[in-house]
């Protein structure tokens, strides 16, 4: 549970910034190089790279270098997790309630 919430914290933090959201929106259309991603922003490259690193550390994107070009791509698993966190919790509690029910039925029989 703690791990899950830590990971989601990272994703929500990543999404909390307009530059990073714009980068993610661009990447939702497909992979792109750093220079392509940076082009629409009036921002020095080192500042832009901080956003990229945060996105990468939070697990929102993956980057890979080929020659002198670094390409970014979405890490889709993270967003599935962010979208589905409540249903995951619901399944967890449903299964937990199933087990409790099974347990009390057998505990009662044993107690007699």
């Amino acid at each position: 549970m703690a791990y899950y919430s830590e990971r989601l914290d990272g994703i929500f933090q990543a999404l909390a910034d307009p530059t990073r959201r714009a980068v993610l929106q661009r990447l939702s259309r497909g992979p792109a190089s750093i220079s392509e991603l940076a082009a629409p922003f009036d921002m020095a490259l080192p500042s832009f790279m901080k956003h990229i690193r945060l996105l990468e550390d939070s697990g929102c994107i993956q980057t890979r270098k080929a020659g002198r070009v670094r390409t970014c791509d979405l890490d889709r698993k993270s967003f599935v997790a962010a979208e589905g966190w409540l249903s995951t919790q619901r399944e967890l509690w449903q299964a937990r309630t199933d087990r409790l029910e099974q347990f009390v039925l057998s505990d009662r029989r044993k107690g007699k």
Partner: protein
């Protein structure tokens, strides 16, 4: 007795179940650590109750062992209310003794009511809103979030 807390469908969940045993049996399964350990986590994982101090402010700490590995932290929570045979409320927003916790995530309200067939069991679990803490709501965080998630969802569907 119904939970007094309002239900928020965006971040709450509610599980209800009629269990064909008296309330005492459900209460015992919840409050006796040796029994609790037998159902709290799915087999083959194992649960160990480190602390279950059944009083407001009391520690509620469990550990979990998965794949036969050593027991690791699982739940570190604090009881808010313990009403014999009726209700248990706990949260991981606080640790034992009402000390604020590092990673608040949820508050759970467990209620037991009489039912003609036995016990009506309900778990109402309320989760944290991540945006509250960062105050991004007022900065239009939700609009941005909705747009991004919508596009990402489409993207994911395309790829699956």
């Amino acid at each position: 007795m119904m939970s007094a807390a309002a239900f928020d469908s965006a971040r709450d969940l509610q599980i209800s179940r009629v269990m064909k045993v008296p309330r005492e049996v459900v209460w015992r399964a919840w409050t006796d650590p040796a029994r609790f350990e037998q159902w709290w986590v799915p087999a083959p994982a194992k649960c160990k109750v480190q602390s279950m101090e059944l009083r407001p402010g009391g520690a509620f700490i469990t550990r979990i062992s998965e794949h036969g590995e050593e027991f690791a932290p699982h739940l570190n929570a604090c009881f808010l209310a313990v009403d014999e045979l009726r209700r248990i409320i706990f949260t991981d927003a606080l640790a034992a003794g009402w000390r604020p916790a590092q990673q608040p995530f949820m508050t759970a309200i467990i209620t037991l009511d009489d039912h003609p067939l036995g016990t009506h069991y309900a778990a109402h679990v309320m989760h944290r809103t991540w945006s509250d803490r960062d105050k991004h709501e007022e900065l239009g965080f939700f609009d941005g979030w909705g747009t991004v998630i919508g596009q990402l969802a489409n993207h994911v569907e395309d790829l699956l």
